[in-house]
């Protein structure tokens, strides 16, 4: 057959067979036991031409409601943020996206340097000493922080705040189970980690305390205190943090974090139905040799020119095999590049401005909800999310909002039974005043309609 991705001609094939000294390609597969050899072709869909496949897939894409056609107030860990146009132009350079892990530094300086810059930017935002070259996502990065802490402290219990993203907590649980680590949830009180409960739960078996900053409800917790309690008990303090919020928030590194993790998706990475995004993993100096995944380091060549290499590889699976600090091999390099470009474009001033816009727009939304008489749950400081009591099933409300061109918030009742009928609304800098006003108005109208019905 002829296919545009396969350049060999029949003449080529015949010459090659002759060189090998065989008469048919089948001879190369003769070592596969006859009784299990697959006969014929897979029963899968026939090949499509480029144009008809594009048409089919475009039709499937059109069946999905996207954040360009709807005003999205859905966040909960994945956000519709400003993505500088330049990001796609950089990551579409195929010298980047068609390369693999930079094992040969002489011809991979571009990738290596770009990721060295990524490591630097993550350190700057988080206030940590060292950042790795990326993890799969924020959830697995948090899970690996937990297992690192357990290995480092030789303790077998993790205290995980209930204000951490529920799906990230599930991932922590799955990883912990593999290592026989116990996971205990610290309940939330008024939308933040219950410090009294933490004091009860923490003990000499506690490897780490894990919190999220800003937390899943959008609240900005006083994590410094939690860090102190953790350290007083000899545990490591792990903070999961939205790096975009750190444009204005005091970085976890200044608040006692030993490990800071999170997802760089807010910086230039498409929502893409939940992946691929880009986990980051940052630590203080003493944990440098425990970090999972790849690290890029600076060095020189024999002429004194600066260059970059994969370094401290004795931690990694291809060297240490079963004794490695993690099994991670492929990471999210291209998305780390995307995040670097976005962080560069926003830069020193833009990262502050974008974070400020999120806070102030969310505050505007909060005020408008309150003006309309709706109950905004939890009264602490918030970043770009707030919890609204909508007094009716969120699924129903969202179905209605959808008809008005709005993607409603996350249904908190799905993961917090006590918050049934509460929606988590995210307001990024992308949402206009008109869109926020429309959201408040629609929710208010629905609630009033429902109350009238029950009056």
């Amino acid at each position: 057959m002829n296919h545009r991705y396969i350049p060999m001609t029949e003449t080529d094939r015949d010459e090659m067979l002759q060189t090998i000294g065989i008469t048919s390609v089948d001879e190369l597969f003769a070592d596969i036991p006859e009784e299990v050899r697959f006969k014929g072709e897979y029963k899968i869909k026939k090949a499509k031409s480029e144009s008809s496949l594009i048409k089919e897939l475009a039709q499937l894409a059109a069946k999905n409601a996207d954040a360009r056609s709807y005003a999205s107030f859905l966040g909960a860990g994945v956000y519709d943020h400003y993505k500088p146009i330049i990001v796609d132009h950089v990551i579409s350079r195929s010298e980047f996206y068609t390369a693999y892990t930079p094992y040969q530094p002489e011809i991979s300086q571009g990738e290596l340097q770009a990721i060295f810059e990524f490591q630097t930017m993550i350190c700057e935002l988080t206030g940590m000493d060292i950042a790795n070259s990326s993890m799969y996502d924020g959830g697995t990065a948090l899970a690996e922080a937990g297992t690192l802490a357990s290995g480092h402290t030789r303790r077998k219990k993790l205290l995980v705040s209930e204000t951490i993203h529920p799906e990230a907590r599930d991932v922590v649980q799955a990883y912990a189970f593999g290592q026989s680590i116990e996971v205990v949830t610290i309940p939330h009180k008024n939308g933040i980690t219950d410090v009294a409960a933490l004091n009860e739960l923490i003990d000499e078996n506690t490897a780490a305390v894990l919190v999220q900053y800003p937390n899943f409800f959008g609240q900005i917790e006083d994590i410094e205190k939690i860090g102190e309690i953790t350290h007083d008990n000899g545990g490591l303090f792990v903070v999961s943090s939205n790096p975009l919020a750190l444009g204005v928030l005091t970085p976890p590194g200044k608040l006692g974090a030993d490990i800071t993790v999170g997802d760089a998706q807010p910086f230039g990475i498409s929502e893409s139905f939940g992946g691929p995004h880009c986990g980051y993993f940052a630590v203080n100096k003493k944990l440098m040799r425990k970090v999972p995944g790849r690290l890029i380091g600076e060095t020189t060549d024999d002429e004194g020119r600066r260059g970059y290499v994969l370094t401290l590889q004795a931690r990694e699976q291809h060297i240490r095999r079963e004794k490695a600090t993690s099994n991670i091999c492929s990471n999210q390099a291209l998305n780390a590049l995307a995040a670097s470009v976005a962080m560069t474009a926003l830069g020193k001033v833009g990262t502050q401005e974008i974070a400020y816009q999120n806070i102030v727009k969310t505050r505007y939304a909060k005020n408008e909800f309150e003006k309309a008489g709706l109950n905004v749950k939890f009264d602490g400081a918030h970043f770009n999310e707030i919890v609204i009591d909508c007094k009716m099933p969120v699924k129903e409300m969202n179905a209605h909002l959808f008809t008005k061109g709005i993607l409603g918030g996350y249904d908190l009742g799905l993961t917090y039974p006590e918050l049934a009928n509460h929606t988590l609304i995210a307001v990024t800098e992308q949402r206009t005043k008109e869109e926020i006003d429309a959201l408040v108005q629609e929710i208010d109208a629905l609630v009033q309609e429902m109350e009238a019905l029950h009056a």
């Binding site: 296919h3 396969i6 080529d12 597969f29 299990v36 697959f38 897979y42 899968i44 026939k46 090949a47 499937l60 894409a61 059109a62 999905n64 996207d66 954040a67 859905l74 994945v78 996206y97 068609t98 002489e106 300086q109 571009g110 060295f116 490591q119 950042a131 070259s133 996502d137 924020g138 959830g139 799906e167 799955a174 189970f177 593999g178 006083d222 204005v248 200044k254 139905f273 939940g274 992946g275 380091g297 060095t299 060549d301 020119r305 291809h318 095999r321 099994n327 091999c329 492929s330 990471n331 999210q332 291209l334 470009v341 560069t344 020193k348 816009q357 806070i359 102030v360 993607l407 005043k433």
Partner: protein
């Protein structure tokens, strides 16, 4: 600073320059001090670059020019399947209906995405011969660990608590033993025999009532098909263990043999390898796992099911190992793989494997006179040469790899697998032309001549790259892992 240094973006920054265009702020401004309590606002701003948009584009263009990808030239990196990355994949992944959808949207608003996931699962079931597939794992190693956790849950559900050992051949990828550790198992190494295949007697001696699973790559990392696979399956299943297939080398056997038919109970695929992910400079990948019926209850949740002709996620899976990743895996990557599979069709995938294997055998036979070839039977998609002969002349495989850079090639994987001295693992893939293979072969032959006649030119290579060999010891002894403003 050396005059040839490529500046870091931080070294090109100038106060007052910007590279962004944020939406206009259309709500009333409020002073930050009124929004956040004292202590919450950072005192020292993050030192990020201050550059214009053109500065950014020039910077990254310069960096890209210092990087070799498949589009730059031949990339025969063994075990990584560096095949052409079709451009249609990139276009499709950027459709707004795929790129800009949120994972927590109501299912009724993302049926197009779910249809693709479901159809891809069906395709992968057929390709692997398995009963059910999860798309959740983010990469190959993540898939390995996911499958091992399922195997562990299966044994534990059977009250089989003593199965603490995972067997791994000495030629296995490093991720195999590492994944076993992360899943809470001890690793037992199984030796290879003189033909480069698993030593059946050693396997027989090492299995027992404590065997949880055998992890196997087939063909193995030497590019050799484990022809005793049925006997191995019998041995492992005979003691109650499970058989795990590392799908890193699936490009070698598509339409020729399916893991499910060989007796494997679980398999992971590297969609960024066999199914043109792309590789992205190290990721993101996608590592779906396929399993046989017995393991289905343990799949990570949620599981995508069809109910009354509507696709929906099922969360009520009491025996599930839980979640291995937030949301549903690397959608953007497996969407590309799906596009590729649909571009190839059944006859295309068959041709992929046939040419991948033909190309590797052709190269192997043409290079055989010039290098030691430890295992000389027909190979599959890759083969491993040894640089022993050249080492005796004072030139190491590393030197030859560096010399290949001067010819514009990415070198093969070197010093792997560990059971070949001075190994060079070459995987041409099916997307390369005969002319490319011939040119590379000629370069390799020329290098062997240089080793004999002018070894210094090889020992001191590369000579044409933007940088010469870097001091890796210095990098590790005095780690500099970030830029610090001088």
């Amino acid at each position: 600073m050396h005059k040839d240094n490529q500046p870091l973006i931080f070294e090109n920054t100038k106060e007052g320059r910007i590279g962004y265009s944020l939406p206009e702020l259309d709500v009333p401004e409020i002073d930050l001090s009124e929004l956040l309590a004292e202590g919450f606002v950072r005192e020292k701003v993050a030192e990020l670059p201050e550059v214009s948009e053109l500065d950014i584009m020039r910077h990254y263009t310069a960096l890209s020019n210092r990087n070799h990808g498949i589009d730059s030239g031949f990339y025969p990196l063994g075990s990584c399947t560096m095949k052409y990355n079709p451009k249609i994949n990139e276009s499709v992944a950027r459709f707004p209906g795929f790129a800009n959808i949120h994972p927590l949207q109501d299912e009724s608003t993302v049926q197009g995405a779910l249809e693709i996931m479901y159809d891809l699962q069906e395709h992968l079931n057929e390709i692997t011969g398995m009963d059910e597939v999860t798309l959740q794992p983010a990469a190959g190693a993540h898939g390995e660990w996911t499958a091992l956790m399922m195997i562990r849950a299966f044994h534990e559900a059977n009250g089989d608590l003593e199965r603490t050992k995972v067997l791994v051949p000495d030629s296995a990828h490093g991720t195999n033993p590492a994944s076993a550790t992360v899943a809470g198992f001890d690793t037992i190494t199984v030796k290879s025999n003189e033909n480069g295949l698993v030593d059946i007697e050693d396997l027989r001696a090492k299995v027992g009532p404590d065997t949880a699973a055998l992890m196997l790559t087939n063909p193995n990392t030497l590019g050799l098909f484990e022809e005793d696979i049925l006997e191995m399956a019998k041995i492992v299943h005979g003691v109650g263990g499970k058989l795990y297939y590392d799908g890193a080398n699936l490009n070698a056997v598509m339409s020729k043999v399916r893991p499910g038919d060989m007796g494997f109970d679980a398999v992971h695929l590297n969609l960024h390898k066999t199914f043109t992910g792309p590789h992205g400079g190290g990721g993101p990948g996608s590592g779906p796992v396929g399993v046989k019926k017995e393991l289905i209850p343990y799949l990570p949740k949620p599981v995508l099911i069809k109910k009354d002709n509507t696709l929906t996620f099922e969360y009520d899976r009491p025996q599930s190992i839980g979640r291995v990743k937030p949301f549903y895996g690397n959608f953007g990557i497996y969407l590309r793989a799906y596009t590729y599979i649909r571009s190839m069709g059944p006859d295309g995938l068959k041709a992929v494997t046939e040419y991948a294997v033909l190309n590797a055998n052709y190269m192997m036979r043409r290079l055989e006179p010039y290098f030691d070839l430890p295992y000389s039977q027909h190979c599959k998609h890759e083969f491993v040469l040894s640089g022993r002969r050249q080492k005796k002349l004072g030139v190491r495989t590393l030197d030859m790899a560096k010399r290949l850079l001067d010819f514009g090639y990415h070198p093969p994987t070197i010093y792997f697998p560990l059971n070949v001295e001075e190994g060079m693992m070459i995987e041409p893939t099916e997307t390369e032309s005969k002319e490319t293979l011939d040119d590379f072969i000629e370069a390799m032959i020329q290098i062997t001549k240089e080793v004999e006649e002018n070894p210094e030119v090889v020992q001191n290579a590369p000579h044409t790259t933007v940088i010469s060999r870097l001091d890796e010891t210095k990098a590790a002894r005095q780690p500099v892992l970030r830029y610090i403003k001088k």
